[in-house]
């Protein structure tokens, strides 16, 4: 009997392939995700292992406030250079080398920053005499190490991709000030690609000066004498270390760095796997539907098997075996395609500015096992319902013409069951969205399960909605499309369950895309209303990408521009206060001229009265920490110092947030406590306000600051929203995979339908329908199906978006009408594309053969 099932599969290759496509795509995403993230992980791990391979121990600065945030450079405090001499004097130490490091951006001939959007630049200061030392993680590829303040070494990737050679000039900014340097050497860090990050190397003295670390070091690499183990070495070093430093063996340091970045890669992995999961979920709908149709078409075959003595269990088994084989083969193909998809995904990330280190392609056993198991199991689960229906075929169907599949036993409870599922889904969603008392985890699970049930519920109710929807959505075609248009509308309605199942797969993808669009629109509306309320300056100054802090010199340079009245900067840093990690910002007294804050307690004069110990916080922070004006707030800064602050004022920011962190102190205090202070935003008022002449004047003053960007209020909004747009586009691209899967669902249904209606199509052609009309008819049916998917998915998505938005306490619910109209048109286009192949097939039918077809 298994043999019969397998031979049957061979005999229906097209249909088997159609069933498989849905799983192939989903599994390719799973496999591609694993391959890409494993490759990135191995890239990081290889990078760090190479970096520390020659060091037995590594001494580095330790932030007193915990893991520094990558957005705030210089948080790990430097330590005095004298430590190096003392380390060298230790009995177990053979050699030790020190260096300094600070984010440094390379600037190209066009005076623009070279690294990609969101990518950064590493900068090092290295003793040229120690450059070729085996302890140096950087290896010289050509030229020599920089020896004076005019020289620089750059990474091999920048040198080759931007065509720089030894002796040429290149720009570099530390903080925000541009300098030009002669390229003395080309270096590389480790074996793996370091992604989109650039490297700039100065000699140690120049580095210390540029990085504002004169007489200080950021790291010391130590090698031990023969016979001294790394652990013994570490034990020797520990007693002489100052409080803000730590020492690890080289292997431990590499492992720590790998695991720090590993967490980041794991997030990417989970993120991508979520989309693979959605694609597989949609794929399971497509498979279930495709199998249902093929099983319905094989009713007589199953009945014949029953008359020849096959049991129900054998019929069930034959369908399940078929599904297992299809699932397994599809998974194997998907697994292979994943290798290609990994490259595509990486290209996608790079195009969005996320370029990560990579090793050679890593293809783990886990990838193979998970992909094959997952694909096979999903196919198997999706086949169970159609398989059960196949067992309900009565033997007498073998002798009846036009026998149809009996309705499933659950059909009786159809509507109550569908409505129940729908209601339960909505209830779980409401609980997850509104029950503020429950734990976040419980709420998220409740939302997740709720969304699944909601989709199932809508899919179960859909058959009852198909007739009215098709009647209305098919009306334009029926009216203007002539007979093919009318027939297409009728065809879409004649098997509502089938049309509903096909449209439901598309519904899921469209609903999720709509959720994303609704949330993004809400986020933007909220942000813009905040900027509208707060922004009273003429111009804003930020780094090019708008979220990485810049040095402070660009803002200072603008103060000298004639006509400028106010330049007020918001400094950014981190710290620990009241038992939590906090974001710290700092303002000067003039901030009230550029940012209009509402005060709960305090006034526009408060920022000017902060002094050495004053701090202001937002209303919510004060409430959460039970603070009132006069409350003491001790703030631990990364250098290990504690500032004893007092609350001087409480402000009430708009719902969309403010440019301020948890604690805001005076700029003067900030600059005394934080090394390398940097600005998150600066705001400018100028005589005459925003005019082309003023814009030009300001830009001219920023010539030496390539990463600084001057913006008007609306440009500032747009620039800040670029991050949202990038994320939005990334989500659209990733969700489009699910939509593609559902399109294959439409293709499958149409092809199988054409197959089923061969005789009917022959008849239509015989009575005078042209090929073109036949094609139009199929195309129109496809568009009606796609529109039903849109009509179901978009409202579900808007509802879900409103709820999810509410769940993440996010009041600005905005319906992006324009985007939704685009989605509807996209659905129409998708329907037309899905119909190409089936329509051609239908058009090609030979009239005579079609009429004789049995």
């Amino acid at each position: 009997m298994i043999g019969v099932a397998l031979k049957g599969l061979l005999g229906r290759k097209t249909r088997a392939a159609l069933t498989a496509v849905a799983i192939v795509l989903g599994i390719a995403m799973v496999s591609g995700t694993y391959v890409l993230t494993d490759t990135i992980k191995a890239g990081f791990s290889g990078l760090f292992t190479t970096v520390y391979q020659n060091a037995d121990a590594v001494i580095s600065g330790k932030s007193a406030t915990g893991t520094p945030n990558n957005n705030s450079p210089g948080l790990t405090p430097a330590f005095p250079e004298s430590l190096l001499t003392r380390v060298r004097a230790l009995p177990g130490v053979a050699d030790a080398g020190g260096n300094v490091a600070y984010p440094t951006l390379l600037v190209g001939r066009d005076n623009k920053v070279i690294s990609a959007f969101g990518g950064g630049g590493l900068g090092f200061g290295i003793d040229p005499r120690r450059g070729n030392d085996h302890l140096n993680p950087l290896k010289l590829v050509s030229g020599h190490w920089p020896t004076n303040g005019g020289e620089i070494a750059i990474d091999t990737h920048t040198a080759s991709s931007k065509h720089y050679s030894l002796g040429q000039q290149i720009g570099a900014t530390v903080g925000d000030k541009l300098g030009h340097y002669r390229i003395a050497g080309v270096v590389k860090l480790g074996q793996a690609s370091i992604g989109g990050t650039t490297i700039a190397v100065f000699d140690l003295k120049t580095g210390q000066k540029l990085f504002q670390k004169v007489g200080e070091l950021d790291a010391i690499d130590v090698s031990s004498k023969a016979g001294v183990t790394p652990d013994q070495l570490v034990a020797q070093i520990k007693p002489i270390l100052p409080a803000t430093t730590e020492v690890r063996t080289g292997t431990a340091q590499a492992a720590k760095d790998t695991s720090d970045t590993g967490q980041f890669t794991t997030i990417i992995q989970d993120f991508l796997l979520a989309f693979a999961g959605i694609a597989l979920f949609v794929g399971s709908f497509v498979i279930a539907n495709t199998l249902s149709i093929t099983i319905a078409q094989r009713t007589r075959e199953f009945a014949t098997l029953r008359t020849l003595g096959a049991t129900r269990r054998q019929v069930l088994g034959s369908v399940v075996v078929e599904a297992l084989v299809i699932g397994f083969l599809a998974s194997a193909i998907g697994l292979g395609l994943g290798l290609g998809l990994a490259k595509l995904l990486n290209a996608l990330f790079v195009s969005f500015g996320i370029d990560l280190p990579k090793s050679g392609t890593v293809f783990k056993t886990r990838t193979v096992v998970v992909s094959l198991l997952l694909g096979t199991i999903v196919t198997l689960l999706a086949s169970l319902r159609p398989a059960r229906r196949a067992t309900r075929v009565e033997p007498i169907a073998a002798v009846r013409e036009g026998a149809v599949l009996p309705p499933s036993r659950l059909a009786r409870f159809g509507l109550p069951f569908a409505l129940g599922t729908f209601a339960l889904g909505v209830a779980l969603l409401l609980y997850g969205g509104l029950a503020s008392g429950a734990s976040t985890k419980a709420r998220l699970i409740s939302i997740g399960v709720g969304v699944l049930l909601l989709f199932f519920g809508v899919a179960l109710i859909a058959p009852r909605l198909v007739r009215p929807l098709a009647r209305n959505l098919g009306a334009p075609g029926a009216r203007f499309g002539g007979a093919p248009g009318k027939l297409a509308r009728q065809n879409a309605m004649r098997n509502p369950a089938r049309t509903a199942a096909t449209a439901s797969a598309l519904m899921i993808g469209l609903a999720l895309v709509t959720v994303v669009a609704v949330l993004a629109a809400g986020l933007k509306t909220r942000f813009e209303s905040s900027v509208n309320a707060l922004f009273v300056a003429d111009y804003a100054l930020t780094s090019q990408n708008g979220f990485i802090p810049t040095g402070v010199e660009s803002a200072d340079a603008l103060k000298k521009v004639p006509g400028v009245e106010t330049v007020s900067a918001v400094r950014a840093g981190e710290g620990r206060a009241l038992g939590h990690h906090v974001n710290v910002t700092a303002v000067d007294p003039q901030v009230t001229k550029v940012i209009a804050l509402k005060w709960t307690d305090g006034s526009a004069a408060t920022p000017g009265q902060l002094g050495a110990d004053g701090v202001i916080v937002a209303k919510q922070y004060a409430k959460d920490n039970h603070l009132e004006v006069g409350s003491p707030i001790p703030l631990l800064v990364p250098s290990g110092k504690t500032l004893q602050l007092k609350l001087k004022g409480i402000f009430d920011p708009p719902k969309g947030g403010s440019p301020f962190g948890d604690l805001t102190i005076a700029t003067t205090t900030f600059d005394r406590s934080y090394a390398n202070p940097s600005n998150l935003f600066s705001f400018i008022t100028i005589k005459g306000g925003v005019t082309p002449a003023n814009t030009q004047k300001l830009n001219a003053a920023l010539n030496d600051f390539p990463d600084a960007k001057i913006q008007t209020e609306s440009q500032f909004k747009k620039n800040q929203e670029r991050g949202i747009d990038i994320l939005l586009n990334l989500l659209y691209v990733l969700l489009s995979l699910s939509i593609i899967v559902s399109l294959f669902g439409i293709v499958n249904t149409l092809i199988l339908t054409v197959f089923e209606r061969t005789r009917e199509l022959g008849m239509l052609r015989a009575v005078g329908m042209t090929r073109r009309q036949v094609r139009n008819m199929i195309r129109h049916e496809s568009v009606v199906t796609a529109l039903i998917g849109a009509a179901l998915g978009i409202p579900v998505g808007v509802g879900l978006g409103a709820l999810v938005g509410h769940a993440i306490s996010y009041p600005a619910f905005t319906v992006p009408w324009g985007t939704l109209v685009v989605f509807v048109f996209a659905a129409i286009v998708a329907g037309i594309i899905a119909a190409i192949f089936p329509a051609r097939r239908a058009g090609r039918l030979n009239v005579l053969e079609a009429l004789q077809y049995e």
């Binding site: 009997m1 008359t307 003595g309 033997p395 073998a398």
Partner: protein
């Protein structure tokens, strides 16, 4: 061989393989109810070929479906090989089909992806049994399929396909073979060949057969011909000629 359920009625007499007792079959309910069979009783003796004839809508197909356990009577009993089948559950009926029943259909009902030989041995494969090579070769020779073993149904003519179907029905040596309009989808020449094969299997192997047909030329090969009209057996002929059959048929108003 025969499955006799505990507490079942006494086995049919030796030689009687099918016994129907006063069966009725009503489709639908109330005003729209249609009575397809209105009390039919019959015995089929071992080694007999019985033809069931009647105009369309007479109930002849319903009778065959009920005799073969494909449909259940509204009232009355059916015994096959001594087993009362109208009360059997699905598994019982499946076992009955495996052990006692062979089918030949009007539209052949071959599995398109299997070769002729694979189609023939399908009932055995389903039951998890091996074909007896001598018997299989004999069957394929008898049905003239010796050189068509590896052909698929799409490569065979209608007559050849029906011969595969016939071999498939005979391969298990069923107690009773049901043929449903076996020549209904064939031209008269190939139809004649199938009828000849059917008659041969009765004569050579003693294959008990019930055939439903509306063609006089098919009915004349039967040992007994039952004429059904309006859900009742109206006439019965033995060893009748085509003319006699046609006379009866026209008297029944077809």
């Amino acid at each position: 061989m025969a499955v006799v359920e505990e507490g079942a009625p006494a086995p049919a007499q030796q030689g009687t393989v099918v016994r129907a007792n006063d069966i009725t079959r009503t489709y639908g309910e109330g005003e729209t109810a249609v009575q397809a069979l209105r009390g039919v009783s019959l015995d089929v003796e071992s080694g007999q070929l019985v033809a069931v004839m009647g105009p369309s809508g007479s109930g002849k197909s319903t009778l065959m479906h009920i005799l073969a356990g494909l449909d259940k009577p509204t009232s009355g009993t059916v015994e096959i090989a001594g087993t009362e089948i109208t009360t059997l559950n699905d598994n019982g009926l499946t076992r009955l089909r495996r052990e006692h029943i062979g089918f030949v259909f009007q539209f052949f009902n071959l599995l398109p992806m299997l070769t002729a030989e694979e189609n023939v041995v399908l009932p055995l494969s389903i039951a998890g049994e091996k074909a007896d090579d001598t018997w299989l070769n004999e069957l394929l020779r008898q049905t003239g399929l010796g050189d068509r073993r590896t052909h698929r149904p799409s490569e065979l003519s209608g007559g050849q396909q029906q011969r595969v179907a016939l071999a498939r029905a005979l391969v298990t040596r069923p107690t009773i073979l049901f043929a449903d309009e076996p020549t209904g989808n064939l031209d008269s020449k190939t139809g004649g060949e199938i009828l000849e094969l059917l008659r041969n299997s009765v004569d050579t192997y003693g294959q008990t057969t019930v055939m439903v047909t509306h063609e006089a030329r098919a009915a004349v090969i039967a040992d007994r011909i039952l004429f059904i009209a309006d859900g009742l057996i109206e006439r019965e002929l033995s060893g009748a000629s085509a003319n006699e059959v046609l006379d009866v048929m026209s008297s029944l108003g077809s």
